[in-house]
Symmetry: C2
């Protein structure tokens, strides 16, 4: 007899995985190394240690170890808000009239409101262990900055956040959460860094960009004794820490003998999708199972679907290493798009290589349709989703409706990365019917793509 699947599949805390999974160990074609823009050669530990934490750099360069132990202190912190539930969306299924089974892995049940805390606490731990005074970072939508503030408060580290100015002004509540956790939040561009002052002089009225905030945070880290720079997405180490999502999902599915057919995640820099999907992709790489993995990106910032697989800068200021990834060009700035977490011009090198090699597919969706899905989800499943997460919801609903057509009872797993509690401006626009669906034209994209540097591999 089939086991009755509960609404929420919880693991016990001793079932939280004790190791992160490193998909690079299973990849036949490894992701291309980061390249030092000064030397044109692959980044070494010596190149990276002045900017990033030492242990994290080792993880960044580790293409060999399949599993990496989660430190006990990080595991303890995980137990405060993990395991996160894998929820069967019974009510959404009913509303859709689909035979498909929809599951969502919900990462929003912590104050940062998203999965970002999974990597933030790991990065703060290694910074503390290295004896650092503090860390610097940038934040756009604010989820990463909030998560890092929480993590730093926990370990007694100073936390300096450069927050894109338009977010700083539009999201005062995000700022206050960070301040409540003791972080110093500076609107970027600011006059606290050379690069900030330069940008302000050239563009006096600018509201900032993520690329600019990255440049400021890196400068701030390197100019202060005992500080390093940390980053919440794109990097290999972040994909690694976020695999806690996918590993827990696998454990929960296993409890009820559920075989996932389709795994869906939103994709900005790739941290959530990588975390959710790479443990499943690992099974594919090892020939153990097969899945459809779908990356969903906003049509306004379509790096997978309309970008180029090439070496490019990670920041607008072009001071960070070059990464080989799907990119729209480091000068690309997406139009006003309320999914603040999906505005990055590039994509995780790991996911980029896997996409290039056919292990995942990608699609781009328009904003209004994403909010249609978000509201349907909110009203049936009770959770007001983050705009980012809602990209995955949109495609999960589409797939479930295809199942309705075909009569197939597929198992669809989607990553519900977080809540929309700090995104109500966007919901207000949607509720008022004033949301826009701007998509870059081919001419615009061509111009940005042309600025991608030529790098010899």
């Amino acid at each position: 007899m089939e086991k009755k699947i509960p609404y929420k599949i919880y693991l016990n805390e001793n079932e939280i995985p004790a190791q992160w999974y490193n998909v690079r160990a299973d990849m036949k074609v490894k992701p291309a190394p980061l390249i030092n823009p000064a030397t044109g050669k692959p980044m070494t530990l010596e190149d990276m240690n002045p900017v990033f934490c030492e242990e994290l750099n080792k993880q960044e360069l580790d293409n060999d170890n399949r599993y990496i132990d989660i430190p006990a202190e990080v595991l303890d912190f995980y137990k405060m808000y993990r395991p996160s539930p894998l929820t069967r969306a019974y009510f959404l299924e009913k509303a859709l009239g689909t035979p498909a089974h929809i599951y969502y892995k919900f990462e929003g049940n912590n104050t940062s409101g998203s999965h970002k805390l999974n990597s933030a606490i790991a990065q703060a731990y290694y910074a503390k262990k290295q004896g650092l005074k503090g860390v610097t970072t940038e934040t756009g939508a604010g989820q990463w900055g909030t998560a890092l503030s929480m993590a730093c408060a926990f370990f007694g580290l100073d936390c300096q956040v450069y927050m894109v100015k338009c977010s700083y002004d539009q999201k005062p509540f995000r700022r206050e959460v960070m301040r409540t956790y003791g972080a110093k939040v500076t609107p970027s561009p600011s006059d606290t860094t050379e690069i900030g002052r330069k940008i302000l002089a050239e563009h006096p009225g600018t509201t900032g960009s993520l690329g600019c905030a990255i440049s400021e945070a890196v400068e701030a880290a390197t100019k202060q004794e005992g500080y390093r720079y940390v980053l919440g997405s794109v990097l290999n180490q972040v994909m690694l820490h976020q695999t806690i999502i996918g590993l827990e999902t696998q454990a929960a599915l296993k409890k009820y003998d559920i075989k996932a057919d389709i795994i869906i995640g939103c994709a900005g820099g790739g941290s959530n999708l990588g975390g959710l999907a790479t443990p499943f992709i690992g099974e594919m790489l090892r020939g153990e199972a097969d899945y459809r993995i779908i990356a969903v990106e906003p049509a306004s910032c379509p790096s997978f679907t309309r970008g180029r697989f090439a070496y490019d800068f990670c920041d607008t200021g072009r001071i960070c290493p070059l990464a080989k990834m799907y990119t729209l060009g480091s000068q690309f700035i997406p139009s006003a798009n309320h999914a603040g977490g999906l505005r990055f011009h590039g994509m995780s090198p790991v996911l980029s290589q896997l996409y290039h090699d056919g292990f995942l597919e990608a699609c781009a969706v328009e904003q209004t349709s994403v909010f249609d899905a978000a509201v349907q989800f909110a009203r049936t499943e009770g959770i007001l989703p983050a705009p980012e997460s809602s990209h995955a919801i949109k495609v999960a609903i589409d797939e479930a409706l295809k199942c309705k057509e075909s009569g197939e009872a597929k198992n669809i797993v989607l990553g519900l990365t977080g809540t929309g509690y700090f995104d109500l401006y966007a919901y207000e626009k949607y509720n008022n019917g004033t949301m826009n669906d701007y998509i870059p034209t081919d001419e615009e994209l061509t111009e940005y793509l042309a600025k991608i540097p030529k790098v010899e591999e």
Copy 2:
């Protein structure tokens, strides 16, 4: 050997209690009945049915049935966000250096952000079952309005919320959540009701009050075919539905053979405290166990500690029934106090009677000390608490520090009613050091207390 207590004690969904607990059945001295202001006599079903839902009125008047079945549809909805975890505050204990064991029952893991959803879904269910088109209500802080919007969306009911005007203006995000769930939100006082127009004419610049919003919502319910008025606190039925909190807490404690010593809840209208504590008080009433139950109220609105136990109106407009309760007088308006959910002038008649009979104690705490506790909790336990909940945290910390002095390992259980994600204005004031701790003077209180009507019992 003692079982290792996990960070979070989760129940399985089939361990969610199938019945609510009605403490009135165990009370030797029953709470005094509501009185009809028109007749001066106890409210009957016939008096109540034109305003409130029929099944809920039966529950309101039921002093006899100890357990009342939770309808299957409500239980299904509960499974979307319940059971809520009972969490051991290991990190807070460590930060305090106390031998006490602190547990918190966290009700904030749903989009309404609080326990209010427990009663909202029950009330919406009975309204739907009665064949109503919709319901009206008022909301101050916005938690109840949000919860009711979610519940109405689920059952396809129209939801009309009168939101205190100052909240409507100061909390646009709360408003947008309600709109996202399809509710019609009207700032109160409004020109949509007679009482609203009257108040606007008399006080053109008023920013509204909960009492005024209640009056408008009641008028709106009675003037529309197929509508009834619903309320999120104070009433006996609300205490009943909220016992799901305390019953789950008992089940979780039992799993690990934990005997609570002190149970602490914040008290505004009493819905959370009543829900958490009355199942434990039931054990006391039946002579099965003994507990210290502590009600924590804001010093700015101290109905238990400085009010009078007397019949009084529940609303400023004096159109609602009279309830015998601890009250500061229906004309009392607390000073600016950021715990929006704890501003009601009265208190649940059930809790009032139990307090009068010595089954719980009460204390009043000042706002800045509450936020000190909130921030300590946020930084150690990861959850940014609602200002309301933080009242309970403050006293739990005080009790834990007393245990540190005495060396006692008491088990302290506190009700963490919700999250502070929509209260960042208050946190901002705290972070900026501009919070105030106004406490009403004896002279002020005497004036309000003198306006309590004389009612013959």
